[in-house]
Amino acid sequence: MISIRDLHKYFGALHVLKGIDLDVQKGEVLSVIGASGSGKSTLLYCINGLEMIQDGAVTVDGIDVHAKGTDINKLRQKLGMVFQQWNSFPHLTALENVALAPRIVKGKSKAEAREIAAKQLQHVGLGEKLNVYPSALSGGQQQRLAIARALAMEPEYMLFDEATSALDPELVGEVLDTMRLLADEGMTMICVTHEMGFARDVSDRVAFFHQGVMEEIGPPAQIFGDARSEHTRKFLANVR
């Protein structure tokens, strides 16, 4: 379980997260929506310790992410993350991209790591592209490569930070399909997204962020059909 308590995050004088309380259960798919600058991406960065926090706590399976004694590199193996920019390693083939972390972080043998990598690339539909360099892949394929790369560490949670925002419109579908596949397989996911269709159809719960505050959280039917907050209704009216 990911558990966030009274989380405060500042960038200098800017108060980006203003006391977030949130629990995400195993197996749950949570979509986080809201305008740019509302703090949704920062929330993900705080969950896997890529950003420090100023107050409150984030725990993952009972381990305090920001405590001094925490082995953050070990904890991050539980938390796969996919970014808006896919960041494939350009000097490695698709297979090597995915095999790198299992080999150097988990100490798997080269053969073992390649086997895991091939399996995960197959999983996201890139089984034909094992020995291709990222420069020869489309944006959508590179983003699926990034998903496979994260999955190869056998994470228990996946964090998606606007995974489709940088893609050409015609490539968004294949990435969303891959995310749907993971959700169907029971992966615990937190998806920061602007894809309202995905949020409505795939999520168990949807959280709406507004100016650093989690305004509202609930089942998709409630958020999209019967939002309590004025801000939520306004936001949804604008994105539709």
Partner: protein, 220 residues
């Protein structure tokens, strides 16, 4: 009648061996200085990148001095003043030390540029996979940044190899010094300087061809 005393004798095939030998010495001092200087310079570049203000105030000015003062002045000063602090180095060792530091000063900025070229998002992605700071540096930053600045590094390396000619002022018999010796004896400067140039070219050209080959391979 007494034979005339002969000071000068023409260029002999044997002299080619003499020059070839000197070319090997140019190669040796260059390879040594460029290798050591690259390791040291990469370390400095990393310090400049990570140290931020501290390094900007301390390391950067020192490197600026080595980059800005003509190499020949550095060589002569170091060779003549090192013994004062108890360092009795022969011309080869003195030349190697100065060429190494000089290379390091040039490579430091190249290396910093390489680290900057990788960018924060790429490094965050690496760290998000559970890589430690050092694993990220070794497996992501080094190969990606290294390739980005490889052409600049080749430029530095070829430059240092040519600049190694200046070590001749200390008396180390590398290619240029050997040429001077032969010119004094044969009085055939055009031939010998042309030959020396050909030797330098023969040393540089394979390096730049191989570099181009690597760049093309990486560009795929």
């Amino acid at each position: 009648m007494e034979p005339t005393l002969k000071f000068f004798s023409g260029f002999a095939p044997n002299d080619l061996w003499f020059m070839g030998d000197a070319a090997l010495r140019t190669l040796w001092i260059s390879v040594l200085s460029i290798s050591l200087g690259t390791v040291l310079g990469t370390l400095f570049g990393w310090m400049l990148y990570e140290g931020r203000r501290a390094a900007t105030l301390t390391l950067a000015p020192v490197l600026d001095v080595f980059r800005s003062v003509p190499l020949i002045i550095q060589l002569v000063l170091f060779y003549n003043f090192a013994p004062i602090v108890g360092l009795n180095l022969d011309p080869f060792a003195s030349g190697t030390v100065i060429l190494t530091v000089y290379t390091a000063a040039l490579v430091a900025n190249v290396a910093r540029g390489g680290i900057e070229a990788v960018g924060a998002p790429m490094r965050r992605a690496a760290r998000s996979l559970g890589m430690s700071y050092w694993q990220d540096l070794r497996h992501v930053v080094l190969p990606i940044g290294g390739r980005a600045v490889f052409p600049s590094w080749v430029g530095v390396a070829l430059g240092v190899m040519k600049d190694s000619a200046l070590v001749s002022v200390l008396g180390y018999v590398e290619l240029l010094k050997a040429s001077q010796i032969l010119i004094t004896r044969t009085q055939e400067p055009f031939l010998i300087l042309a030959l020396a140039g050909a030797f330098y070219f023969a040393l540089s050209y394979p390096v730049s061809r191989y570099a181009t080959h690597l760049e093309n391979r990486w560009a795929q």
